[in-house]
Symmetry: C2
């Protein structure tokens, strides 16, 4: 008897009756890559993985799961950073990467319709080819799927000016927990015909329905862009620059920072010539009409200098701009290679509280004797304190846990949140009640029970 | 016995125990203005009107209503255009106009916190005084309340570039049907800690909860603005201008049109010197950096001429701009004075389908022998066909009903919606199922049952 003819479970047999059996993975070696996502120290072996190619196949799979009360965890490329697509024991992993077509690009209405498994970068490139822009650019956009971006309400490096994924979703096709297929939203710029149900599913992390198609809003591509990199002897001076730019009524597309630990790791990794004695660097980009870009870039440079920047470098061309942006784009990869386990956090505060939050992170890290590099979206108040640790070191992991509690408590006390763009998933579940309060959590649980009465959709994520 | 000491019902007695009795209206003459909103031909006498001054008072009133199963209709200034705040027989009208304070303007975080009864114009002026802009500008903004704007997800004349009310709501305080008070959202630009519950309440027309405070996002005030008015011999040429401007990658803040009937009514009313032989006029505004405004205005003028505009007038200063904008701002008032009953509709289609939709409206009006003036937000595909009729003429009102059915059917067939910015309320309730389909309507009903299990919040609005 060969491996392929081994008797399979009733679940595998049932799924193989719904889909071409070639699209039902169940051998242990095939399942390995589906046991985790992009989140450190979180994994759970998958029981089986299915690859539907149409919405009708997704609906048939969900109907089966609903009738038989089998959990379904939907996923795209698995780049999530809160464990949202980590398998549930005994459940079906529903992987949407074969539903990857861009179905329509409507330049007259500035919309793009894609299947959930389409890769974000392909969408961005399709828009770009028409002179249009799909603004959300999460760090994983080269491989992440648009369905995953919508399910997590992903952010990116242009959030300050352009907002996040939610701001670009005009319509969604969703398979409900019953297996019913529903279309929500329209190509209309304005539509108030009843409750905005699409907003319920955006950011719901696969717990309320399975997103199968996405109608996105596009905007005209900015004609010009200028990229600058400023270095600072203190983090406070970098934060002051951000405040002063906003106070000058400038909303740049990007205001990203790296701290000293991150600068050193990036330089070691990418050799972009960063000053190793700097306490902070700030990547600034402005885009739009050439006259605006020239004007804003000049103002931002003088503001940075007035706030104490040691150096301000302006990219002379696209190649130089890409090089400067590399410092920020490489931050996570650079930090990830210096220790066995990299825990990327996502504390976010109102912009005005940035300096306090960064000081808190540094103080907490020192007190718990932990190595933390912090980078992120300074203009959005969205910080990524990143613990460089080793999950085999139980003592250190306990200190990481305690440090995280302190950091999130402080963020919430400042009017902030435990996650700006990564979602709750498994990683932030225990922090959610304190962050949003019982009344708000109660509403969410009511919504979950209403839309998924048997609890088959990604159970145990966001809350129990 | 004087009028004021007449015995009152148990309901009035109970409400007067919760609030200062001076803030509980129940005499027939006091109730008259609360029996209708801004919607023609829809009214129902109020039983009593209460004026809470704090969130705690709202919560106490809702708890009473919940325990005693009394309907509550919340309202602000009553400027709604779909009958959303028309009283429910035997219910409490909860009027929020005494909760009118602007509580905080935070220039560092670009946010404004206000009570629900704050008037939209006051919010806009408070922002303006800080060099900031609150972009949504519904037609009724001089008297409408921000709570009403959020409950209806109001639009306005700047939607094309700036979006609608939803796009500026960062947080909400809501009194739930149980009387529980919940805060949803934060000052963070990015926040994905669980489902976006605030989006459930935005546009829910008082049927899911009572909004008591609103945290709004502000943007820097544009430094310059140019206003232009183009006239056309055909509506198609005006629509072509809109398409060509978007195709040129320009997103103006305003692209508003009037048709021939509306032009004549406006000229008769406001004497702004409009050409009475024009089939259409287009009000165009671009705002932002002075260089961009100059560049875009020049392009828009040449596009308008290339598309066949008979004349294009550019305002030389703010005074002239205001005069040109008067033509559009006065449209509804001008139409409203020519007939006893003015039924303002709100059909909306994808921008690319505008010409077809306008032709349909004209053809349907002619076939049913009805007088219709159409104006609206051309850049958004949001049309306001306005029936000039008389509700005492039953035969004509029946033809209006039939015409509306045909117009909405056609809008939906074009991928449009029955309401772009006025809401469903009572006026559009019968059209909703066909417009959004049973699956989507089922989700909305599930949500309503979950959040308002006893059906006390604005019952009978949106759907039964």
């Amino acid at each position: 008897m060969t491996t392929s003819s081994l008797p399979t479970s009733p679940l595998i047999a049932a799924l193989s009756a719904i889909l071409d059996p070639a699209r039902v993975l169940h051998s242990p070696e095939d399942l390995i890559p589906y046991g985790f996502d992009g989140t450190a120290a979180l994994s759970s072996p998958a029981t089986c993985v299915v690859f539907p190619e149409t919405t009708e196949e997704v609906a048939a799979l969900v109907r089966y799961a609903s009738v038989n009360r089998v959990p379904i965890v939907s996923r795209g490329s698995g780049t999530g950073l809160s464990g949202g697509s980590v398998p549930v024991p005994g459940g079906i992993v529903l992987c949407l990467v074969r539903m990857e077509r861009i179905l329509e690009l409507d330049a007259r209405n500035l919309t793009l319709l894609a299947e959930a498994g389409a890769v974000t970068l392909q969408i961005a490139e399709a828009a770009d080819a028409m002179g249009l822009l799909y603004p959300p650019d999460p760090g994983s956009m080269k491989i992440s799927t648009i369905g995953g971006n919508v399910a997590e309400n992903s952010g990116g490096l242009r959030g300050l000016k352009y907002g996040v994924t939610r701001d670009y979703v005009m319509g969604l096709e969703v398979v409900l927990a019953s297996g019913e297929i529903v279309w929500l939203g329209s190509k209309c710029v304005k539509d108030v015909a009843g409750y905005s149900m699409k907003d319920v599913f955006i950011g719901s992390e696969g717990t309320l329905g399975i997103i199968t198609k996405v109608m996105l809003k596009l905007v005209p591509k900015p004609a010009a862009k200028t990229t600058m990199l400023a270095t600072y002897a203190t983090m406070a001076a970098a934060a002051d620059t951000v405040s002063a730019i906003i106070a000058a009524k400038i909303i740049p597309c990007t205001l990203e920072f790296l701290d000293r630990v991150t600068i050193r790791c990036v330089e070691d990794f990418a050799h972009v010539g960063l000053p190793l004695d700097a306490e902070a660097i700030l990547l600034m980009e402005t885009d739009g009409h050439p006259a605006v870009v020239a004007d804003e870039a000049a103002q931002m440079e003088s503001i940075a200098r007035a706030c104490g920047a040691t150096t301000v470098v302006t990219a002379a061309n696209a190649e130089e701009a890409a090089k400067l942006a590399t410092a920020r784009r490489a931050a996570f990869s650079a930090l990830a290679r210096v220790s066995p386990t990299t825990i990327l956090e996502d504390a976010t505060v109102p912009r005005s509280e940035l300096t306090k939050m960064i000081q808190c992170i540094q103080e907490v890290a020192a007190r718990h004797n932990l190595r933390v590099g912090t980078f992120g979206h300074m203009g959005d108040g969205n910080l990524h304190p990143t613990f460089l640790t080793d999950e085999r070191n139980h003592d250190e992991m306990e200190r990481v846990e305690r440090a995280m509690v302190e950091i999130f408590d402080f963020a919430v006390a400042l009017g902030g949140t435990i996650t700006g763009e990564h979602g709750v998933g498994l990683a932030k579940k225990s922090f959610l009640p304190k962050a949003i309060g019982n009344a708000s959590l109660g509403l969410m649980k009511d919504l979950k029970r209403t839309l998924d009465p048997h609890g088959i959709l990604n159970p145990g994520k966001i809350f129990d």
